[in-house]
Amino acid sequence: MSWDLILSNSLYTAVSANAIAYMLVALGLNVHFGYTGLLNFGQAGFAAIGAYSLSIPISRYDWPWPFALALLLVSSILLALLLGIPTLRLRADYLAIVTIAIAEIIRLFLNSVRFTWLTGGNDGLQGFTRWMENLNPFPENGVTLWAQKVDGYRLWLMLSGWVLLTIVATGVYLLMRSPWGRVLKSIREDEDAARSLGKNVFAYKMQSLMLGGFIGSLGGMWLVLDKQSSQPQDFSTTFTFFAYTIIILGGVARAKGPIIGTMIFLFLIQFVDITLQQATRTTPTDPTPLLPTWLVDQNNFSQVRFIVAGLVLAILVVVRPQGIFGDKREQAFDVR
């Protein structure tokens, strides 16, 4: 057991480019769910749109990357309109139903054999990260942080990701402290009250859906930039539920919530995973693993991380229902 390796790897996972993708996706969902009270169960769909708005034009049609970014902006807003126009006038449940369905439609479309010429189907798309590699100012072999080796590209993606995340999170923080954010919160509390005070509830919900969706798309983009491959299976509903877990963990409607939530969530999962991996490992010199094989072995340890993560989450919800940064007073009045 190498604790240096376990800890450095877990810590790196919590702040890596992959973590930034989760943070952005959760941040967008927090705009929807945390601040506006929109039950969006299709955040993975926004992430998928972000990922493929980047990968399709670049790897299939050799677009310059700024055009792909413009496409990402436009397509995430179009998706928000598509989801919002039919559902935002209806009760909250309908948005939940439609978003989860559209997100699945997007994933199945990306996965379908018929459109492999465009989306790459199940194999996904590769070769769309050249521009990001060219922008990388760090040497290719990168650095070693504690015991964790990080290559130059991932280091660059991590640092530029933190800059992007800081800008986005600050923007959201400022917006939510503004009168605009106040209207969103009033819609979350009671949209009829907001309406009775002269606020155009539909327009605000739409803006919220667009903003959060765009941020979610940026998250999807960062996810595939990190993996250097965009694949449909990364955008299943699980991704959305992870994002919900993250914002509940970090504290709903808190600017820091999605960031801290992601760190805890990913650290926990990685820590349990890599610890168990080491504890069940056998080597030629040491054929007995640390943990008895009747309990857990090399073939099944990877499932245990979710059991442990679920357990920790359950404990947290009992002990601190408002999340790490949440306000206990607010929780007490949540009677919905």
């Binding site: 954010g181 009250a193 309406r195 009775s196 002269g198």
Partner: protein
């Protein structure tokens, strides 16, 4: 009360010399049930008008139709000379007619002061792009806050300024809702059962607040069951039963109106109409 004395003809649909709200043949049915079927009614400007009637008379539905929260099947409401036909609720509110709700809608997880600030109209910072840049709206926000604090003081809520609205008592929520409605300087305030669930001590102060609205030049239309209160503050009373306007008049007229007594006694034998017994 003499300053507010009125001498309109006490018949349903009577003409008022300066009506702020005119309703013409408004009808709303839910399936086979006709909830509201009002031929003609005018609400006088700068007066306190009570809308009364037994349970199920259609008062709240009528309120919803007037404020754009529901759309009539036929008919039209004209507020201040502008047709409100098909106008959504938020635009009705912006045009100067702000309502409160029978079940108070305090925004529980927002502080009292934030509730108040939300009420202000034409806020620059409520636009997405300007919202990010606080220098663009900070001055207006400060003015709004000052106004909100004045209103909170007037409604005896100043000590609750930074509490979450969910922590207020039922009566305090009623006060907050009324104060919040005033943030937008509405010409007309529509109060749906302002006294429901308010303790007697607070009732008196609520009555004074409603009277003060008239002094400020606003028009008040309120739905109420408490006949003593109706007699005490209203200048004019409109009575609804089974979706129709069955009577109009001063509180004294209404107490002795046989149609009204019948409408109430038909469903409520024990209602104290508050009239001369």
């Amino acid at each position: 009360m003499s300053a507010n004395a009125v001498n309109y003809e006490p018949v349903p649909g009577s003409a008022k010399d300066d009506a702020i709200l005119v309703v013409d043949s408004v009808r709303r049915a839910f399936g086979g049930l006709v909830a509201v079927d009002v031929a003609h009614v005018e609400v006088p400007r700068n007066k306190i008008t009570a809308l009364i009637g037994p349970n199920g008379a259609g008062k709240t539905t009528f309120f919803n139709l007037l404020t754009g929260f529901d759309t009539p099947d036929t008919g039209d409401c004209v507020f201040n000379g502008n047709s409100m036909n098909g106008i959504p609720a938020h635009k009705v509110a912006r045009s100067g007619m702000i309502r409160t709700f029978q079940l108070t809608k305090a925004l529980s997880r927002m502080s009292v002061i934030e509730n108040m600030r939300l009420g202000a109209a034409d806020q620059k910072g409520e636009s997405f792009w300007r919202g990010v840049f606080s220098p663009l709206w900070r001055t207006q926000e400060a003015a709004i806050t000052t106004k909100a604090e004045e209103l909170l003081a007037r409604f005896n809520l100043a000590h609750m300024r930074d509490e979450l609205a969910g922590g207020l008592s039922g009566g305090q929520r009623k006060l907050l809702e009324m104060a919040r409605a005033l943030m937008a300087e509405p010409e007309m305030v529509m109060l749906d059962e302002p006294m429901a669930g308010v303790n007697p001590a607070l009732k008196q102060s609520l009555l004074e607040h409603i009277k003060a609205l008239r002094t400020e030049g606003r028009t008040v239309l309120f739905v109420e069951h408490d006949m003593d209160m109706v007699r005490e503050i209203s200048d004019w009373v409109i009575v609804m039963a089974e979706g129709r306007i069955i009577a109009e008049g001063t509180p004294d007229d209404i107490g002795s109106n046989q149609a009204v007594v019948d409408a109430y006694l038909g469903t409520h034998h024990d209602v104290d109409l508050g009239g001369p017994q």
